[in-house]
Subunit: 435 residues, 2 copies
Amino acid sequence: MDKKSIGIGLIGCGIIGGQVARVLKERADTLATEVGCPVELRKIKVIPPDLERPLVGELGRELFTTDDEEFFAAPGIDVVAEAMGGETPAFDYVKRALAAGKQAVTSNKELIAKRGAELMAVAREHNVTLRYEASVGGGIPLISRFQYDLVANKITGVYAIINGTTNYILTRMAAEGVDFAAALKKAQELGYAEANPENDIEGIDATYKLAILSSLAFHARVGPDDIYREGISRLSNRDFQYAQELGFAIKLLAIAKENQGQIEARVHPVFIPADALLAKVDGVYNAVLVEGDLVDKVLFFGQGAGPLATSSAVVADIVGAAIEVTHGNQAQSGWRLEGGKVVKPMSEVVTRYYLRLSIEDQPGALAQIAKVFGSHEISISSAIQKLTDPVVQTAEIVIVTHDAVERAVQAALDQLQHLPVVREISNFVRVEAED
Amino acid sequence: MDKKSIGIGLIGCGIIGGQVARVLKERADTLATEVGCPVELRKIKVIPPDLERPLVGELGRELFTTDDEEFFAAPGIDVVAEAMGGETPAFDYVKRALAAGKQAVTSNKELIAKRGAELMAVAREHNVTLRYEASVGGGIPLISRFQYDLVANKITGVYAIINGTTNYILTRMAAEGVDFAAALKKAQELGYAEANPENDIEGIDATYKLAILSSLAFHARVGPDDIYREGISRLSNRDFQYAQELGFAIKLLAIAKENQGQIEARVHPVFIPADALLAKVDGVYNAVLVEGDLVDKVLFFGQGAGPLATSSAVVADIVGAAIEVTHGNQAQSGWRLEGGKVVKPMSEVVTRYYLRLSIEDQPGALAQIAKVFGSHEISISSAIQKLTDPVVQTAEIVIVTHDAVERAVQAALDQLQHLPVVREISNFVRVEAED
């Protein structure tokens, strides 16, 4: 099919959408060479406040509309790129574009994590493709890795730092010994965290991204609600101190594994060995480590957010979509769901644990605690006891376990809480070795 | 175009080819699902000794031939995968396959580095694609990153550890203080270095890979002969000691940069800051850091060699080729050469330098040396002087310069060599900061 040019419709012209529009305009020559014909931005759907942006003047007011019907009736639109974010109404827009036989591109992780399978079914039905490279890891090429490069592998694990806000906060806490609140405040000042940071610090954003990566990696439908989740707000300076003493770094990891049809998917703070590659990923950077049976380990690192990096991925998808329009279907659409796979309940997950307890500093206290672990068949790898307050005779004890099942650890914690010598269970964090 | 099945012809059935054949057989179901129809290995061209391999019995003798004409006359071959290595006769085989209108896949870095442009022209002429993901970085997805994901970026730099043998040797030298010969011997015992290791330790293998990455990144023809090259054999323990003291790691880096149409491409040992991500890439692992104007930095890490990892990339390309056969051209073939770019001569390269000299331990010696640098407009960042042998009054001096042009440094070294107080220029290594 020969085309004289490819027309793009853009939905949303905020920070990401605006940058996509700029790249499409400024790199028109390069993109035309790659696609084989010009790629033209023909209509932009915005909400009224966005009409005040300087970009409207730069690109010309006639390109913009606030009206859905006008947008979808615009002539010569082959590819619709959605950069507005959120589940609704983005879902309706993307579905409408696909149902009208247009290629669709989105940077919307929430949309793909929650409703991706539905949209891909619509895409298949209309023989078009939904592309979403920018939805995970910003400018880091990830999605097409699973769809193309790793296709011959059986993927066994994904270990990812996929939220820049939390990684920035944890990096500052580790490097400067500041507490969570101070690190969050600094992140907000620098624009790395939002005024309402819940979505990031509670790990919600990371579950969206892990849902997408897991669905791709394991050929099974993994939704955000299937993923166990803990945020980073309960980490304290003492945990970082002990982590360093024990040779660990603390990261918010998104972890997914498959073993014999059972999928494990969870987002929570993790102790990882300080010499692990992921432990070196600092600041707002993201990294995704993938384990496959042929490739062993591959790791992808880069900026997981920001308008420039995200626009790189969105425009790459627009080029891919444009090539599909000019040269025909590329047949790698959607998640190849295999069926029969189940998500393992968190209670059955096996990992190591770091625990920090406040106890009465009296003879036999440690023995009583060790006995509780023993009765739940949890074996202890190391224990450090420190006298922290001689006046009230309180000691702090840090325990790292060997592999144990979550259910047993939770039962042990429950029992410990009722032990008279235990004053407080200050924290517990899971420990991972990456493989 | 609907096909009932896709036929594969394989050239070479050594360690890599054999593993590719195994994956095609063992994962036939997965590959058929990805492609939409079965992918069948129909003929394997080998040299007579390979007929003795156990694989011949496993796959059936009738699949194998030692005869070129029989191979090319075999019916139903849509994709030819070459895994024999070397420039000749691999070039003729791949060219013949492309000229016959077949899709071609190769893992052959030497072939692509030296004759890739020629083969891509043949591919274009016959409306097929030459795929070569496995030629650089084994199982690490790299080639298609440039062709697809980074397409909207202007690439400014590539910094790569792309030879596992040398990285293994340097890692051992740094970690254990063993000398080059001992580390090489160990690498040979473990099968990480060949009996004749020249290709790896002299950086030849790395220049092939950098030629391919540079051509892709900068849209210009960069051949292995355009690349300045130094191996690792002249690095000594003392260099590693000083590197550690100064806060550096030593790596064999393949570096390519573009600035205003001038391309810089070189392979040589490099001092890099110990906290740089590339400094953490140890053992036989590879990593490629790419700088683009939109993505900033992205890094790809993994196993750069080995039959399993390499087969992952070859089979991914075979799937891509099969999809092209069933669904039509994907239009991302070959290097998009822009023309007008030149490779900068090594003498004009600007970087920092580490120098180690043996000098006479006498008053004013350092001043004389500093004067030589000054006369060539090279400014010194740090100098360490150590008394190494009081009997013969020889001191060792280590100098790290600020940015200087290679021509000036070479001229200074030449002059230093004739200075009476200089007993020996023991070594010099360039220093890079990654960006």
